[in-house]
């Protein structure tokens, strides 16, 4: 029976798939969104439960730019940034003077409003409803230095030229934003932002405008999330409203907490682990079911896709029990909150 077990499961395939997904477009999108969340929550203490709204703004801004104004990709990206900034201003201007919970309430609603507006019939002429934007990828593909027909990568980890193009762009963006966050958070600017996280009134009493810095942090994290949306749009060659459902925000949070809040690297490591784990469980489950090791009376292949989230949820619960600070977080800092 043991021998059969070893033979039936293709561990090599599962491993390859897991590694591949850990660096693929989904992981990149999650990493970028979580880097933004880390700026919001990890450094500035802003409770943003609508990060997916920023992702949507970036994606739609870029997509609409090409679709309607036939503009060049650089300007389309700029429009994606502007959309994210405007969204941050709409959320932040009225709420950041109030207590932290108000932002949390507004963000969770605003992100849903963005999605529902994008798929509404009233805006159908612009956003093309549930079908979304599908005509914008051309100008980006024209700039692709890789040959779309060829495969890139090494060993078992190969992608088509178009996909590899997006992955290279994505990881370049991640590197740039990590560098940006690292530099900012060691500067006096970062000190003010962290001080506001610790105690807003203390920062104000020392001459720092808490409102202005919170707004800056909200914009910065939102724009980084917006770039996540742009990578998503490039990778899928489409922008559809139902990509941007509310649970996605909570996966971004999961990724951030998994890595450890308030550490530069943690969102990226969190995203890698999250996608590797999800893929591993999914592929293992599918094989177990296909090989009859798990009888279909218990679970079939489609159910594996749901079960994987149960297992990830359980794993996260265990992490919170045994390592509440996440992978990179500092237990010492965590303990200070108890005071």
């Amino acid at each position: 029976m043991d021998g059969f077990f070893v033979f039936a499961i293709d561990w090599g395939f599962i491993f390859d798939q897991s590694v591949k997904q850990a660096v693929d477009i989904n992981a990149i999108v999650y990493a970028l969104a979580a880097i933004g969340l880390n700026v919001h929550f990890g450094y500035a203490g802003l409770l943003n439960f609508g990060q997916v709204g920023f992702v949507a703004m970036g994606a739609y801004g870029m997509g609409l730019g090409i679709t309607y104004w036939q503009t060049n990709p650089a300007i389309a990206v700029l429009i994606g940034i502007i959309f994210s900034v405007v969204f941050a201003l709409i959320l932040g201007l009225p709420t950041l003077r109030l207590r932290a919970d108000y932002l949390a309430i507004v963000t969770i609603a605003a992100a849903e409003i963005v999605r529902l507006m994008a798929r509404s019939t009233a805006l159908r002429d612009i956003t093309q409803g549930a079908e979304g934007l599908n005509e914008f990828i051309g100008p980006f593909r024209d700039l692709n230095p890789f040959s779309p027909g060829a495969e890139y990568g090494f060993g078992p980890f190969v992608w088509s030229g178009n996909r590899f193009y997006t992955i290279v762009i994505g990881w370049t963006l991640i590197a740039l934003f990590l560098l940006l966050v690292w530099q900012l958070m060691r500067s006096p600017w970062g000190r003010v932002v962290k001080a506001i996280r610790e105690d807003e009134d203390a920062a104000r009493a020392l001459g720092k405008s808490a409102y202005w810095y919170k707004l800056q942090a909200l914009i910065l994290g939102g724009v980084i999330g917006g770039f996540g949306g742009m990578v998503m749009a490039l990778g899928n060659a489409t922008v559809q409203p139902d990509f941007f459902v509310a649970p996605l925000t909570f996966f971004f949070w999961l990724v951030l907490i998994l890595g450890g809040v308030g550490r530069v690297w943690s969102p990226v490591v969190g995203a890698i682990i999250f996608w590797a784990l999800i893929t591993f469980i999914q592929n293992l489950g599918r094989q177990l079911v296909a090989d009859g090791l798990i009888p279909t009376s218990i679970m079939d292949t489609t159910q594996v896709d749901q079960i994987r989230f149960w297992i990830v949820g359980a794993a996260l619960a265990l992490l919170m029990v045994f390592r509440p600070q996440g992978i990179f977080g500092s237990r010492e800092e965590m303990a200070l909150d108890a005071h």
Binding site: W189, R191, D199, L206, G207, Q216, L336
Partner: protein
């Protein structure tokens, strides 16, 4: 030569020779309760002024209104010649009025020295774009750090320099908050119950530090409800009760002021009760 206030009239709202802070007709209501009801008050520059009063007298609310953390319903405050009614606390701090809090606000997850550095004004690296280029702010950062270290040494906190502020004791947090406020180069320091919850040994050193501020030419206002603390340290005492200023004067005069005693102990504290009038009367005589 310290300002001599002993010749001033000892009445609420008396004019000072060189006021740094002038309050007029200030009212602050919470629903039906008038928490602050001050007709006129002047705070002298360069001295230590104590603001005392029994619990619930409105001292902290008054303090919050003066420092911009709360908005008055009516009235005006003039700080160093400028009306500051609607000025935000961070702007006030930049203009030289800095405050501390009754419940100390150490920035727990920042190191002690980072707490200090935060206080410095006009930091180039606090602007987003300049923060991106270290050479823009590094030299200034170094000089700020030197100032922070010097202040920490003065407050005998230098051994805690690299610890998280959250790991400090209550008294050390008071010291940190006071020294941090000095990083803003203040002209007026407002201390909200600096001695609250501090052990007696540290209390003495805190008092010395408050005196030290005055020696540097900084004006100090501090809130306190313990009258004994006030005696040794303040040049002038302002007494609040039920939101209003009921007495002003040098500390010696305040302890004997009938209205102040009434405010602290209740207006009828020495009125004999019918049943044991004789006994109470005897006590009353002893107090005289």
């Amino acid at each position: 030569m310290p300002t001599d206030l002993s010749q001033l009239e000892r009445t609420p709202g008396v004019a000072k020779p060189d006021p740094i802070l002038v309050v007029d007709n200030m009212r602050k209501r919470f629903g039906g309760i008038v928490a602050v009801d001050v007709d006129h008050l002047e705070i002298q520059r360069g001295v230590i002024t104590a603001l005392i009063g029994p619990n619930g007298a409105g001292k902290t609310t008054f303090f919050n209104v003066l420092t911009g953390f709360d908005k008055p319903d009516e009235g005006s405050t003039v700080f160093d010649g400028d009306v500051i009614n609607k000025v935000r606390p961070d702007v006030l701090a930049k203009r030289g009025m800095v405050r501390t809090f009754q419940l100390t606000k150490a920035l727990t997850k920042l190191a002690v020295i980072e707490n200090m550095k935060l206080g410095a004004k006009h930091q180039r690296g606090e602007k987003f774009l300049r923060a991106l280029l270290s050479p823009m702010w590094r030299p200034q950062e170094r000089s700020i750090e030197e100032r922070g270290d010097a202040l920490l040494a003065r407050f005998k906190m230098d051994h805690m320099r690299d610890e998280y502020a959250g790991s400090l004791s209550g008294g050390q947090r008071k010291l940190l908050e006071m020294s941090r406020s000095l990083m803003t180069d203040p002209t007026l320091v407002m201390l909200d119950e600096p001695m609250a919850g501090v052990n007696p040994a540290l209390k003495q050193s805190l008092l010395d530090h408050v005196r030290g501020l005055k020696d540097e030419g900084i004006s100090v206002v501090f809130v306190e409800h313990d009258m004994d603390v006030v005696q040794g340290i303040s040049d002038w005492v302002v007494v609040m009760a039920e939101g209003a200023i009921i007495a002003e004067g040098p500390p010696e005069s305040i302890a004997e002021n009938k209205q102040v005693i009434d405010a602290y102990l209740g207006a009828h504290h020495d009125t004999p009760l019918d049943l044991d009038a004789e006994l109470e009367g005897a006590h009353g005589e002893e107090e005289e």
